[in-house]
């Protein structure tokens, strides 16, 4: 018997590690992976609450999140390839044309 709050705390820890990787990493691909980590943390809380309320719609929502994440990964990686072609770098500090 595991309390539900353990699952939610694990989900919060994963999400916050994703946020800190998003803020601290300087490689554009790693930043993108941090977004996937945050999505996984949220998925865990969806499944935990589906178990808590005995509602399977939580698991269906996780399915939709995964579909959107897959589409996002395909488009995002294509954008990364396009950025690399024009700027020849993967460091986000050097992709700063919009900065004053």
């Amino acid at each position: 018997m595991v309390p539900l709050s353990w699952y939610l705390i694990l989900s919060a820890i994963l999400f916050c590690l994703g946020v800190s990787a998003f803020l601290l990493k300087r490689n554009i691909i790693t930043i993108f992976m941090a977004i996937e980590l945050m999505l996984n943390g949220v998925n865990l809380s969806f499944v935990a609450f589906a178990n808590h309320w005995h509602q399977l719609s939580g698991q269906v929502f996780v399915f939709f999140v995964m579909v959107v994440a897959a589409a996002e990964a395909a488009v995002g990686l294509a954008i990364i390839i396009a950025v690399f072609r024009t700027r020849e770098t993967l460091n986000v500090d050097q992709v700063n044309l919009l900065k004053l």
């Binding site: 595991v2 699952y7 990493k25 691909i29 499944v47 935990a48 990964a73 500090d93």
Partner: protein, 168 residues
Amino acid sequence: MLHQVLFIIFGLICVAGAVNLLIQRHPINSALSLVVVMGALSLIYLLLGAEFVAAVQIIVYAGAVMVLFVFVIMLLNAGAEERSRGSHVALWLGGPGVAVLTGLIVYLMVEHSSKFHDVTIGNLADFGDNTHAVANLLFKDFLLPFEITSILILIAIMGAVVLARREG
């Protein structure tokens, strides 16, 4: 008891993989630790009685999405991350901010844990076969969103091809 032990083992693997993603400097190491996180998460989904989600997690996330990531890392020949000499606002404001956010969520969960009841393995068994029940819900109540996601994926495929195509 067994449930607790399994949860702690898989939860620790998850957190260790996520911390490793944060501290590794080479993107390929980060990608492989993310695969570890996703595999351990799918085992946690099994503990929660979500067999379909666990299988899809392995197939879609650990299989398809991460292979795409590793493929792009290899294609662009990404090296280790350079130390940036830019501003450190993200480090000095973001680090404490994230720590406060984590502490707040954990405190709230512990404070209100009496309102949640315990999770048991296979709790949703009264729905029958998990995949069968999810499919029933997906193709009856959520039919319209399901069809809309297929259009979304079609648009994403076309966008990816257009964006990644070599000019000229």
